[in-house]
């Protein structure tokens, strides 16, 4: 097949995740670049990008249930919170007031995901009877329930205003959250967190991509597009909705478990409605029903505040103090809102849609189609 890379003679090759050599080469180059970038990026940027990696895991989870299976969930913040506290309980240090089992990260991170996943799957049967707006309201209720539980369950969460430390990033005695030395080279805490979260993101993203291209993902899409027809074709609606919520919550749990290891502190009021909306916005801006889009949306919205901060020095009407027309945080909120509206109206396929269009344009270039 030399010289005809797009000619497939086997079904395996045709349904491969990266069918062409070009795609594989670019992915490899991209990965090397992202991994290598940690060497020269400043510490604050490393932390910011690591936060984007973690957010991307959570957004992939939300996209699985909302973008692929079509079940709108506003309760993602709740599952992020469950993951954060499960991670802290399994992987954090115990004090006289707080529960903490001090497990290694390789145990507590999956446990954080599983805890959130089981709670998601347990709540799903109630949600299965509802659709659209009603489901959105039910999941909205979860956020408020969660906020209350997180405030009151002080032996796990530390209580409001006090909080607690998240799970410790430790594996067989090695600490990822401290500066260290590997084979004579010194690595910073930020570099290690960056690489670790990148690794988790890669694993989770590939797993999600596999789920959506196999029978489970097709069944999710069938439930989303035509639920009655799906049922008549032998797809058990309850089973797949429970599965979608379970998997989505697992992803949220893992993301939640990692999210606060970056700052080193979990506050009980972090898991509010605004967090849920931010994740919905990342799905919308990145592109619904797209794993790549999830990552792009998470990266875009996580880096946006920093970009606007940078613009503060350039744009004349922005003032750092309170003297100007707008403060940067006000501008940030305006841009955030405008972006959601803009994408919904002009680019419903999100950043992924823009990317696909550009790619197809250059594929066909210099012809128009």
């Amino acid at each position: 097949m030399r010289g005809r890379p797009a000619l497939f003679t086997r079904y395996e090759a045709d349904s491969a995740m990266l069918p062409t050599i070009t795609q594989r080469v670019w992915l490899a180059i991209g990965l090397v670049a992202v991994i290598g970038a940690a060497v020269w990026l400043p510490r604050d940027w490393l932390i910011l990008i690591a936060t984007a990696f973690i957010a991307a895991i959570g957004v992939i989870g939300l996209n699985l249930v909302t973008g692929y299976a079509g079940q709108v969930s506003l309760g993602h913040a709740f599952f992020l919170g469950v993951g954060a506290y499960a991670g802290a309980a399994f992987g954090g240090e115990a004090t006289e007031k707080l529960v903490g089992m001090g497990l290694d990260v390789i145990f507590w991170l999956p446990l954080a995901g599983l805890t959130a996943g089981f709670i998601g799957a347990a709540i799903a049967p109630i949600a299965v009877r509802l659709r659209g707006l009603y489901l959105a309201f039910l999941t909205l209720g979860l956020v408020f329930l969660g906020e209350h539980i997180f405030r009151e369950w002080e032996s796990v969460t530390g209580g409001p205003g006090i909080g607690r430390k998240p799970g410790v990033l430790r594996l067989a005695g090695w600490r990822f959250d401290l500066d260290g030395q590997i084979a004579g080279y010194s690595v910073t805490r930020e570099q290690q967190i960056y690489w670790l979260t990148l690794l988790v993101l890669i694993i989770m993203a590939f797993a999600a991509k596999n789920i959506v291209r196999s029978r489970i993902g097709r069944a999710f899409a069938a439930v989303r597009d035509r639920d009655i027809a799906a049922e008549v074709m032998g797809i058990d609606l309850t089973r797949y909705k429970v599965l979608a919520f379970g998997v989505s919550s697992f992803y949220a749990g893992v993301a939640g478990g990692l999210l606060f290891t970056v700052t080193g502190f979990v506050n009980t009021n972090s898991f509010n409605l605004l967090l849920s909306f931010t994740y919905i916005a990342m799905v919308v801006i990145g592109g619904a029903a797209s794993i790549t889009g999830s990552i792009m949306g998470a990266a875009f919205l996580t880096l946006l505040p920093r970009i606007i901060d940078g613009a503060g020095g350039v744009l004349p009407f922005l003032e750092v103090g309170s003297t100007g027309l707008l403060s940067t945080s006000q501008l940030e909120r305006i841009v955030f809102g405008a972006l959601i509206i803009g994408f919904l109206i002009f680019e419903p396929l999100g950043l992924n849609g823009i990317w696909m269009r550009l790619r197809n344009y250059w594929k066909a270039w210099p012809f128009s189609y």
Binding site: I211, R213, I216, A229, A230, I235
Partner: protein, 273 residues
């Protein structure tokens, strides 16, 4: 040939006073192409919805080869081998033709969430094996060029064919066709008729056909049942049905009763009502 595959016995379905299916009984033999005709609103699609488990009739018995279907969930009935092609296209419009047809294979696939996430070994082999079957159906229905197109973008006639393919991919024991040629031109209708006959002969699938195109029904059906206002008014071979005075009355009205009984196509005569 004369083995009874499906028994539909005295089924009664009503919605708050409106009786949609009123004590209808019929049997379908294995390998047969059984047609149900009747004026609009007669209850044809309601019968299909009872068979599929979408509606639960208040009375009666539905039995597929010894298994009672009444009260089972639609997905369980699908697993027992009842497939359906819908009247209004009910394809998964954001998926490709291939994915739609592979969804028909879903009930024969076993991979769980973990093996799917790994996509390795057994899960991968399963995908490939079912892809092969899906490709056979794509070949059979001559839709290979639309394999990777989103079905929402395809022309109407092709969408109907994809929907037939999706139902066929389930390897059904009985296939319910709800107006497969509605809104099609002569050429598309003839293509569809050819596919239906091929399914009967090559794949030996038993079929129930609901259709308003009388020419098609009379040409390809083995037996026909006529219903009106939820009640069965006649059953028999196409010849018998065409000569049945009750059928002519249902289609053309009361006054026409004594005239023109021997005309071969009652629907082609103008109603005098």
């Amino acid at each position: 040939m004369s083995e009874r595959l499906l028994v539909f016995d005295e089924v009664r379905l009503s919605f708050a006073g409106v009786v949609a299916v009123d004590g209808v009984s019929f049997d379908v033999n294995a390998g047969e192409l059984f047609a149900i005709i009747g004026p609009n609103g007669a209850g044809k699609t309601s019968i299909f919805n009872c068979l599929n488990g979408v509606y639960l009739p208040q009375e009666g018995r539905i039995n597929l080869d010894g298994t009672d279907l009444l009260g089972l969930r639609p997905d369980k009935i699908a697993e027992l081998g009842v497939a359906r092609m819908f009247q209004n296209i009910e394809l998964f419009s954001n998926l490709t033709t291939l994915d739609n047809i592979l969804l028909g294979r879903n009930l024969h696939m076993k991979s769980g969430i973990l093996s799917s996430a790994l996509y390795f070994g057994k899960a991968k082999r399963e995908e490939t094996a079912h892809r092969r079957r899906a490709e056979e159906i794509i070949d059979f229905l001559e839709i290979a060029q639309y394999r990777k197109s989103l079905v929402g973008m395809l022309p109407y006639g092709v969408q109907k064919r994809v929907e037939l393919g999706r139902a066929l991919a389930m390897d059904p024991r009985i296939l319910l066709l709800d107006e497969p040629v509605a809104g099609m031109n002569l050429e598309e209708t003839e293509d569809m008729a050819r596919f239906i006959l091929d399914i009967q002969e090559e794949l030996q699938v038993t079929m129930i056909l609901v259709e308003h195109d009388m020419g098609l029904v009379m040409d390809i059906a083995d037996r026909i049942m006529v219903i009106d206002f939820g009640r069965k008014i006649a059953e028999g071979t196409p010849d018998q049905i065409q000569k049945n005075p009750d059928v002519i009355r249902a289609y053309l009205g009361e006054e026409f009763e004594t005239e023109g009984l021997d005309d071969e196509a009652p629907a082609s005569e103008g109603s005098r009502l």
